[in-house]
Each structure stands twice: as C-alpha cells, then as structure tokens.
C-alpha cells in the first residue's frame, strides 16, 4: 500500500510531438483511480511509466514517497494486470501465480500459504495444475489477477484488463475487481477506454485527451460538472448533446439558430454576443412539453430498458432518452424541452462556464 505522486511528468519520443504533457496527479493510499480516454490519449503510456516499462522524459514519479524514475520495474514493488493477461504459457496456474514469490526466494511454506489464500479468493483452487491454454478467458483473467494479489504489492496497475472478455463476463469481473479492492484496500490504477468501467470502478476518474489531463474527480463530479466539452462528450452514454449559440446577457439566455431562445436562468460573466455551447444529456431532455423546440425524428432505437430517439434539432444531431413507450411508434417530429438547471454551458474554448 502506498501513495503515488506524479509531478510534471512528460513523455516524448525523440523528435515527435509529446505523448504526455505536464501530468500532475496525487493518488492517495488505497485509492482506486481510473485513467480513461480514447485510444492514443496517453493513458497506457502513463501507466507503463509508473510500472517502469517506459522511460520518463521529464518530471518525477514517486511511489510511497520514493522517486522511482530510475528504478527497474522489479524494484518498484508494483503488480500489473495486462490486457492480454500475459500468463506464462509453459507454467501451470500455480507456477504462474507464485513466479514472483519464487523469484524473491520466499520460503516454500509461505508461498503455498499465499497461493492457497489467493486461489481460494479467486475460485481457482480446482485449476492450479492446469496450463493457461486449458483455461477459459475469465479464468485466465482471474489467474492474472491472482498473480498480482499473491505479491501484496504497493500498488496494482491494470491495463484494460477486461477488454478481451465478452460483455456479460466483463460486467461480472468488474464487480469482482471492485470487491477485491474493497477487501484488499490496495492503491490501484486502472486504465480503460470504457467510460462505464470508469464510472463503476473509480474512486476518482482521471479523464485524459491528447496527452493532457482534462479533469480529475469523482465519477459523479465528471458526470454532473464536466470541466470541458471533451469530458462532457466522453462521459455518459448515449453522449451529451451540444448546440452552438450566442450569449444574450440581457435575457440571460442562449440564442440558438432560427431565433430560438434557450433561457438558462443564471448569471454568467460573459460579454453579450459571445459564442457559447449548450450541452444537455439525452436523459435530461423532455419530450412533448410546452414551449419546446421542434425536432425531426430520424431513428428510434429501443434498448428494452428505454428508447433512444435520434433527432435533428437546428440541423444538429440530437439524442433523447425516454422510457415512455409511446415514442416507439414513429412520428415525424417531437417537441423538445431542456430544463434550465440541467444545461451545461461551455465558452468558445470549450471550457465550462459556472
């Protein structure tokens, strides 16, 4: 167990644009941090730098108060679960799980004890003598986790560990990881591009884009108060709707196209006429209300649990989520209302206003 402190860390490969720029992040002891972002945002690189698999171009990374920049991976006392599981194919499950302990010349009795505890926790008792190729995807995943658990390391690193599993198994393993973390209380850093995984697993989410941290906060922070257009669009499914407009300071409203006006009922420190983007989540869009905007219906997607309406509003794609089954019957158009307190406002730079 340990804290992890990342200070002004950058990564660049000779002569190319930087992959990571000025990353600052303090991870508390026992915290579950999820790094989330689209592929190529630098999240995996950051994880690999913490693991010691990538060199650090600038800045420092400290684990448990000790700067590890120049330490080899083996000296950092961290465990990592890979997307590919990376099980040693020529070793049995038991040998896979105890490899690190045997490297450390741990006494046999201790090894057996730890193996027993970990395999019981993960339900792997029956498979200890098998080779990885005789296991299912979920079991391999468990072995990979077991390999990390037996070591009781300072921190767990997860690199998209569930990406190779099917949807049902992923859901199940997600819950297991969360339970394991609750049981072990180990500092964990988890990389994923799946925002649902991020929302469900994290104590705090670190949203990354273009090698820069966009926002750090609790899952609901990011959902309720996204710091910018990127986070707003990335967190939540179906994604947030955006409408461009101009700020009308006198009316405290956003002027959309075709002279539509969207009252926001709050004071904003922005010059009259500035460009502004209004965001609203599909689940907060009202349908068929008084004084709404007219939107053309393009597609109706029933999900069972609800209905996603793909609309066209002011020439912008726009989605609404409803559980009202009346909307299953195709209609030409609907009226759309957006409650003022549910609106997210972003300035011309894409940053959140108030």
């Amino acid at each position: 167990m340990a804290t992890i402190d990342i200070r002004a860390v950058s990564k660049a490969y000779g002569g190319h644009a930087p992959v990571l720029t000025d990353i600052d992040l303090s991870i508390r002891d026992g915290e579950f941090i999820v790094l989330v972002g689209p592929s190529g945002c630098g999240k995996s690189t950051l994880l690999r730098m913490i693991a010691g698999l990538e060199a650090i171009s600038a800045g420092t990374i400290a684990i448990g108060g000790r700067v590890v920049n120049d330490l080899a991976p083996k000296a950092r006392d961290i465990a990592m679960v890979f997307q590919s599981y990376a099980l040693y194919p020529h070793m049995t499950v038991a040998e896979n799980m105890t490899y690190s302990l045997r490297l450390k010349k741990t006494p046999k009795a201790t090894v057996a004890e730890k193996l027993e505890a970990a395999s019981r926790k993960l339900g792997l008792d029956a498979f200890l003598a098998r080779k990885p190729k005789a296991l299912s995807g979920g079991q391999r995943q468990r072995v990979a986790m077991g390999r990390a658990i037996v070591r009781a390391p300072k921190a767990f690193l997860f690199d998209e560990p569930l990406s190779n599993l099917d949807a049902r198994l992923r859901e199940q393993m997600r819950a297991e990881i969360r339970k394991l973390h609750a049981g072990l209380g180990a500092t964990s850093i988890y990389v994923t591009h799946d925002q649902v995984e991020a929302m469900t697993l994290a104590d705090r989410i670190v949203a990354m884009h273009g090698g820069i941290i966009q926002q750090v906060g609790s899952p609901l922070d990011l959902y309720d108060r996204p710091a910018n257009l990127f986070v707003a669009g990335f967190i939540g499914s179906p994604g947030m709707n955006f409408l461009p407009g101009r700020w009308d300071a006198g009316a405290r409203a956003v002027r959309l196209k075709a002279d539509s006006v969207l009252p926001v009922e709050r004071a904003i420190d922005l010059p009259d006429g500035s460009a502004i983007t209004v965001g609203v989540r599909p689940e907060h869009v009202g349908l068929g209300g008084e004084g709404g905007l007219a939107a053309a219906v393009e597609l109706v997607e029933p999900t069972g649990h609800g209905i996603i309406l793909h609309l066209r509003l002011q020439d912008q794609p726009f989605k609404a989520l409803t559980t009202d089954r009346r909307y299953l019957t195709p209609q030409e158009s609907v009226t759309v209302t957006m409650p003022a307190d549910r609106l997210h406002l972003f300035d011309g730079n894409g940053d959140r206003i108030a």
Partner: protein, 274 residues
C-alpha cells in the same frame, strides 16, 4: 465434386513427394546393387540381387569414419555456436530500439547476397596467417560467420512471435531482463531454437566449397570432400560412393527426428487471449 477435388489434391501431393524422394531412393538402390549388376541390368527399380558389401567396405577400409567424425564435430559446433550468437542478436533486433539497428539489419542482409565462391580466395588469405586453414576450427569459424545472419533473422522472427507482455510481466514480477529472457522467453522459443539449430546443422553438414578449399589433408576432410575420394582418375566407384552417401544421411535424419517434436509444437498457445 468435392471428393474428386480432394483426390486430385492428394494425388498431386503424392506425385510431388515421389518426385522429391526419387533421388534418395536411387541413392539407396545403387548403394545395395552389386558392382557386376550396376551396368548390366540397365534401368531397373530394384536390382535382382542386393548386397551390403559397399557399406562394409566404406566402414572398414575407407577413411569415411574419419570424415564422418570431422563432419559431426564441425556441424555440431557450428550449429550450437551460430544458434547461440543468433539467439542473442535476434533478441536484440526483436526487442530493443538502438541506433544503427536498420544499418545492422541491412549489413546482415548484404552478407547473404554474395556467391560463396567469390569469397573463397580472400577468406583463405585471411585464415592462412592465423593458422586456421586445414583446421576444423577454421571451418567452424567460417561456417558460423556465414550462417549467423540468416539464423539471426530466423531467431528474430521467432522472438517477434512472442508477446512483449510476457517479459514485461516477468520484469514486473521481479525478474531482470536477462532473467525474463532465460526463464520465460527462452523456453517458449525452443521450437525456434530447434529449427535454427537444425537449419545451421544441415547447412554445415552439406557444405562443400569451403571444406574443399580450406582443408588440404585427408585427416581433416569432412565427408562431402571425402565423397570425392571415390572418384578416381579412371573410374567412379558408384556403389561405395552411394553407400557413404546413405551413411551421411543418418545423422541429419536422426537430428531432425530428435527436434521435430519442437518444430511442430505451438508452445505459445494460451499465452495471451484466445
């Protein structure tokens, strides 16, 4: 329709195998044909009378056992030294980014472009002052030099086939890079190593030009050179020559029998997702 297709396919393969193996069959056939029948019976698939006289003569009265031993020493030494060097070099090419990597790869490739005959004279010139002509060591040095580039590419491709995640996992588990190489990567590369050893062994075993040019005495000759001793000024002793040839096939066959288990084994199955 499908059955006919399969049949045609099988027949084509069979025809090819017959075509490829016929020279070997002929080698065996001539080696057991008594001298007096060799020319008198014309072209027959199997002689009316067989004999092992040629084998007996080759083993008891010729220098062949000596050639055989020399060949075995040279080929085994070449195979192991070349594979060890190629293993390390191939690993570096597969895993490390270093300055001049492309140049090194390119130079390795360039060495494969020249006909060996062109290099015989300069190599003789080089080895002569070092006292490495007419010596098995000299032969091993030359063979290793010529086989390492290709073996290196071969090993590189085998290492490329092993996911990096595995050694990274091992290094995080507490192994050094060399430890990860030895305990994780090497066991998984055994099929590749077997293939490389086999390839280099056969290349050295059948090499003729350098063996002929660099070795001058009978005691140091390898068997391809030794085979020539069955050709005299006035006649060719086909029976004995073929018997020696059959004997020379044995170690190569044994060797492949020994390593074929590794050649066909897919050890990496189950390493990563599947």
């Amino acid at each position: 329709m499908r059955a006919i297709g399969t049949l045609a396919h099988r027949l084509a393969i069979l025809a090819y195998i017959a075509f490829a193996l016929f020279p070997l069959f002929w080698l065996v056939k001539v080696s057991v044909t008594p001298n007096d029948l060799l020319y008198s019976e014309g072209i027959r698939l199997w002689p009316s009378r067989t004999t092992f006289e040629h084998f007996r003569f080759v083993l008891a009265h010729s220098d062949f056992p000596l050639f055989f031993r020399n060949s075995l020493i040279v080929s085994l030494a070449t195979a192991f030294v070349a594979t060890a060097l190629a293993g390390f070099a191939g690993y570096a090419l597969s895993r490390f980014a270093f300055r001049g990597k492309l140049t090194v790869s390119g130079l390795l490739l360039v060495t494969q472009m020249f006909p060996l005959v062109m290099l015989v004279a300069p190599i003789f010139k080089l080895l002569s002052p070092l006292g490495l002509t007419n010596s098995l060591t000299g032969l091993v040095v030359v063979y290793v030099a010529f086989n390492v580039p290709f073996a290196c590419f071969l090993m590189q491709s085998f290492f490329d086939g092993i996911p990096r995640d595995l050694e990274e996992a091992a290094m995080i588990d507490g192994a050094s890079r060399f430890g990860a190489f030895r305990q994780i990567i090497l066991p998984l590369t055994l099929p590749g190593i077997a293939a490389t050893v086999g390839f280099v062994f056969t290349a050295a075993w059948s090499e003729m030009i350098f063996a002929l040019m660099l070795i001058s005495s009978n005691e140091k000759a390898t068997f391809p050179v030794g085979l020539l001793s069955f050709v005299s000024k006035f006649s060719v002793d086909f029976g004995q020559m073929m018997a020696a040839g059959v004997l020379a096939l044995i170690p190569a066959c044994l060797f492949f029998l020994l390593i074929q288990r590794y050649l066909v084994q897919g050890l990496t199955a189950g390493a990563v997702k599947g």
